[in-house]
Symmetry: C3
Subunit: 402 residues, 3 copies
């Protein structure tokens, strides 16, 4: 088990405030600040700034009462974030293309109404509807009873309201907007993880970057896991939609997925009774450990790409949940340290890294909206370049049984 030893100081440098930026504190528990309803626009930054707004609102009603929703709206993208749910990405829109999906869960559920232990440890499903959910960091994967406790489905980060929420906007070109939140996973004797999560967007662009820094504040080395559970439905997902990635090895998650293995690269339309097929992928990456993967629609004129680093996130889960529209027609493209097996299996198979006492590690993923054939083709070409002539090993047997 490799122990990550990057120091926090180095990592924080990567996301630290530019000398020429405006900073806004939306929430800071240490200073007893939580602004709730709040907004700014380009006019607050500079006469030269391109048009954008950043708005935070407190939601109402039902199980979303008190949840905050932070929206960045630029000429390129509209990005909805949920500070109350670990600064997860609710959904994104650009050029009329939605990144996200339609879950039966419509509310942005406030964690105060969640019970992760319910439904045999799958209570997480009561709130799952985001485009991107952080599954981690103390553990992730399917629920399992072990070590005298329930490791609930996909960990706790997404159901943890951020303790700090900062907005930073550069006051000169490219006027990069950074939203930063602090997720605390602190439990006496058990966990002392703090993660600064960030979303960066250059107004007008069709991209955004997730840049998270996980720190183990304890005096002990500790296991960690993370899956960036990135989920897309219509309009990109449709019959004939394709998943494209540089793949070193792929295998089915279980026997049911094995029956769909030969078609792993393409999607069915909404299919009653399909449920889900899941595949475990080891991606290839380039000389700098960078890789990228893509989902496109059938016509290859709409898509979404995710670029990430395979040293940070060595594996990828492909979750094909092409059930009916109302059931949740969605595919998950999920770079991670781990597959979605329970932590017990991931430990056995050596996919649970440790973070040294006092050390930090980081995860950087860039999501690109691809809104025409050319953009799709260009993104595809880079994926093909990473694959090169290298073979894809297709393993027919699942690597584990739950």
């Amino acid at each position: 088990m490799k122990i990550k030893n990057t120091s926090l100081a180095i990592l924080l440098g990567l996301v630290s405030s530019s000398a020429s930026a405006k900073d806004y504190v939306i929430t800071d528990g240490d200073r007893v600040i939580q602004k709730g309803d709040w907004q700014i626009s380009n006019k607050n930054i500079s006469p030269d700034a391109p048009s954008f707004t950043i708005e935070n609102v407190i939601l109402k009603g039902g199980k979303q009462e008190g949840s905050e929703l932070l929206t960045i709206k630029s000429e390129g993208l509209t990005i909805n974030l949920s500070p109350t749910r670990g600064l997860g990405i609710v959904n994104v829109e650009g050029n009329g293309i939605r990144l996200g999906w339609d879950s039966p869960v419509k509310e942005i559920v406030n964690p105060k109404y969640m019970n992760l232990e319910s439904r045999g440890g799958a209570g997480w499903l009561d709130g799952f509807n985001e485009m991107m959910v952080r599954c981690g960091f103390e553990w992730t994967g399917h629920a399992v009873q072990a070590d005298g406790m329930m490791y609930t489905l996909h960990g706790r980060a997404q159901n943890t309201p951020v303790s700090k929420l900062f907005v930073e906007v550069e006051d000169q070109a490219p006027f990069t907007i950074t939203i930063r939140g602090l997720i605390k996973e602190n439990t006496f004797k058990k966990s002392n993880f703090e993660t600064w999560v960030a979303i960066r967007h250059v107004p007008g662009s069709k991209e955004f970057t997730v840049h998270d820094i996980l720190t183990n504040l304890s005096d002990y080395d500790r296991d960690y896991q993370i899956i960036y559970h990135s989920n897309f439905g219509t309009p990109i997902l449709e019959q004939g939609a394709k998943f494209v990635a540089p793949v070193k090895e792929i295998s089915p998650f279980n026997e049911y997925a094995a029956t769909g293995l030969k078609n792993w690269q393409t999607y069915q339309g909404p299919t009653k009774g399909f449920d889900e097929m899941v595949y475990n992928i080891f991606p290839y990456s380039d000389a700098n450990n960078q890789t990228q993967v893509m989902l496109t629609n059938n016509a290859s004129d709409k898509g979404v790409g995710i670029a990430f680093n395979t040293q940070q996130l060595p594996v990828l889960t492909l979750w094909k949940n092409t059930d009916t529209l109302k059931q949740g027609y969605v595919t998950g493209i999920e770079p991670g340290t781990s597959f979605a097996y329970p932590v017990t299996i991931e430990r056995e198979q050596k996919r649970v890294p440790q973070l040294g006492a006092g050390k930090s590690t980081e995860f950087i993923l860039t999501y690109s909206l691809l809104s025409n054939k050319e953009e799709v083709a260009n993104y595809d070409a880079k994926i093909k370049a990473i694959q090169g002539n290298k073979q894809t090993k297709v393993v027919e047997e699942p690597m584990a049984k739950e």
Copy 2:
């Protein structure tokens, strides 16, 4: 298993706004509205309207902090509702007679402080004190571990804050007041139930009607269950109080209840160590499937009646909890789809209906306060008419063992 196929359009017609009514939105998550403290009176409606007030307040302190309490006060009845607890009916008062009971739980507990999984799945007892609790809709009954999860006592609806809360008052006679709330039971892959619950009251009358419409928004037929757990203590419940119903068959819930079977129609006074005796009843109904049942005090000059439809709610649980006053001296008169056995038993015995994909079903119950001998006698006469000469089968053996 019969599948209900009534369409939502037809059902909504039954409760849709009158053309001549005033509508107030108290809470609507979709429009980011949650008014909290709010009130109106007859003066807001029409100079001709009879005296009434409708008030919503946000409660404070302890585990009721943030709970809302909505009160309708007319010359006939005062009705307290809990929007934060699934628009349950806290209690009702008219002519100095209270419909409701005294639980050791005094606070209107906000679900954010509840844990239904606690106490072996009986955490629901931490908040139970209402005159009417909806036990459903995804499941109901005693807690049971099955299908890899805990089916917690009496389901989740009562501990779900409404996502929408609307008040409608007709602006001409009879100036009917309707309070309507939306309960969402949505869980990815598991449930997609939405229930519009409503309470209707004509100001000045001694009645109110519960009218709920459950819709299965998913693409799959799904099991549902509901028990309208309607609970009454003093002053109606007392030594010699009587339960009157047209009964086709009655049997004890368990061996302990079997020992009290012969006295099922009457009540003891508060009795230390009594705990509870429960009876399973199949009621008779009239040609329109309507039935009605009644609880009266010993002198038969105070009572409460419940009228309902046996196609909607074919069975009735009679819960005799005549323990001490402080322990909770109370009887439950509980029309339902199901008895209070765990869902596993109810499934085996075919009392768990299904609701077709996209379909709706409805439940209508009218509660009448009976405040003198004549009203009691009249209500009794109708019950007797339904029974007619038909026999009551008394089964001595419980139909199941938990």
Copy 3:
């Protein structure tokens, strides 16, 4: 099992309002009052009053959003209380000496974000960081599955927001400040405990008194348990720090603690991998059943003393958690009805008292900050006087196995 029969009337007399005091209602659910942000100072009381402030603030951010923090600041002590967490004592400071410790949990976690059932019943650890936690009153001790439920670690009182919060300040010397809160542990059929908890402080003094009155409002005698989990880290706890008490009998909690038995009176510095050693102590007391115990630093010039009544709290748990600073370097000095074994073991060994139906019992503990050699020596002398020539029995075997 002795049943306590003191009447509530007598007990309330002990803490009732002085005829000459000013009373402030900060929270009262019955009157729909919850002031949240609020403050007063000596100027509100009398020109003769010594300098002090009392302030209540609503915390923000992360899992402490909505938690209240009440601070008494006098020339003697600054006392931070958490009304939202059962009026627990967060920390205390006087003469530059901190009473309290550094947990990895930094936030004052609002119970709405807690799940006591998580981590196999040890979810309580997600919020544990106070100087004094009430572990009770329905049960306490290590988590255990029994009686068809999980008895979660250390009970529920600390994760129950107070239903009432009153501040009382005498308007003449000594101008005693009393903060009083009501903790409700009410569950239908299971529990009907209400506890008036109080903290009293004479401005300018270096002492404060905890005075709690537990009442069993039910018609049934009920078991109760309480441990006053009082926790201290630096600067008093350090290598060479000492625990001093009049001890009748001491034994190790388990085999691991047995290995440190001979050094039970002294502490190590922060020690990686130490985890915790726990000792079960039966203290001696004086003719009035009063006893006192003390923790001092190595130089015996800083310390904290706790005086209590062994009829109320007959045993004491000594928790030596001298692990690393970041892991939580802390010792717990924990007078109680019970040791920290699961309730099942405490019942077997007859350390679970009952409280009669309708009866009350009380617990009074006075905490003294000792800020120089003389104060430490004086406190020590009183402890020695209680021990006198009486022997300490050192038992090498744990009294139970978990």
